[in-house]
Symmetry: C2
């Protein structure tokens, strides 16, 4: 049985303008691999409601679970929650439970829960809150979509609280062989290996050390015994 | 007149599995901003022909220019060239000019141009080669799509050779104001600013130093005088 699938939607002009280096994708990819969920596609779109709605509806229809990052803060350019509500065709308003979380947080800090901060309590109808242990303002889950903050520390905390609810599959076993030959010299044995083990993924990634070419061969699959067998055959084929 | 638009398509299982951290997007975003091209969307897909074809056709239809990275090496999992040919509905075969480039490179290195390496001379009909000063194997341009390597040093060299052919727009001016207040405290003035300057992009990015919250306000636009005027108004509004 194939593993469950996932997609990620990154929302933010700052990524597309080159101001900010995206870093949540790599983290999420590693976490999903660990629990046996296949991340199949990532999209990055700007702070534009039409773009967000179109991408979200495409991804949530095509994959089992969708994770979003970015655009849930207090400023005018934070339009993710409203865009998600539009994508699902549901209403959105300040919700009592989200407001209570923010009120308690800002009371502790001695800060006013003003109109801007109250925007962070706008939650689409029917969504469940995602805890934010860093700065209180919650994410939310609706349907198969988990909406999370873009700030990496908050994103990671929200992923940690959401992942236990995500149905995983067989964890993927990965083995790497470092070969001191260029990709072009190992391509034929690799192709034979991929053909002999269609249930495994055989990847090859070139590297260069002191002017000499080498290749990392990565074999991945959910059946550890098959992965080991493939690695053994590869070593034999390469005369190692 | 709005600036020309672009999209990027990143191809590779290694990104989606978390094995490799994607780094070309940030580089391309910065280069495009510099020449006044708006990067509007990025997609990351796996080494799967159907996924590549669907994403490429969506992006090349929606944006002025598309840049791809990854999947043009010599191994069985390098299927970008064939997928691009399929997306455009054109044939693909080993081409004499690409073969000559590879032959000269491997002759110099004393390495055999074997069948695997010859795959890198497979070029879709009608495409123009993109020079690869690092490792010879060329990228190519077809229609509004530029197909480039995933290895960052090669990707960057190919971008440098392609960009002079890309029609740019007005370079975007960007000014940043560092404010020692949380986003929630500057949100209202920022919203007023964005409303007063609909031709500019007003972004806000929180940071935290020694437990104190601050905000970077970024104002971007193609008219330097408008950007300066907005920054002046912002400073006044914030009492700075």
């Amino acid at each position: 049985m194939p593993n469950p699938t996932a997609a990620m939607l990154v929302i933010g002009d700052e990524i597309l303008s080159g101001r900010t280096r995206e870093s949540n994708m790599h983290y999420l990819a590693g976490e999903l691999t660990r629990i046996g969920v296949d991340l199949k596609e990532v999209r990055v779109v700007s702070d534009d409601q039409d773009a967000i709605v179109a991408a979200l509806n495409a991804l949530r229809g095509a994959f089992d679970t969708v994770f979003t990052s970015g655009g849930i803060g207090p400023t005018h350019d934070d339009i993710t929650a409203d865009s998600v509500a539009a994508a699902f065709g549901v209403g959105i308003d300040v919700r009592a439970d989200a407001r209570a979380v923010l009120q308690a947080h800002y009371d502790r800090a001695g800060t006013e829960l003003n109109a801007a901060r109250l925007r962070m309590a706008r939650i689409p109808d029917g969504a469940a809150l995602i805890d934010n242990p860093v700065s209180a303002a919650p994410g939310f889950s609706i349907g198969n979509v988990h909406v999370m903050a873009g700030v990496p520390s908050i994103f990671q905390a929200m992923v940690a609280s959401v992942l236990p609810q995500v149905v995983g599959g067989a964890p993927v076993q990965s083995r790497t062989l470092r070969v001191q030959r260029g990709e072009g010299d190992v391509a034929a044995p690799l192709a034979r290996l991929a053909e002999a083990y269609p249930d495994l993924s055989v990847g090859s990634y070139p590297f260069q050390t002191d002017g000499a070419y080498g290749t990392h061969v990565v074999v991945r699959g959910t059946d550890a015994a098959r992965v080991e067998a493939a690695m053994a055959r590869l070593a034999t084929d390469l005369g190692l």
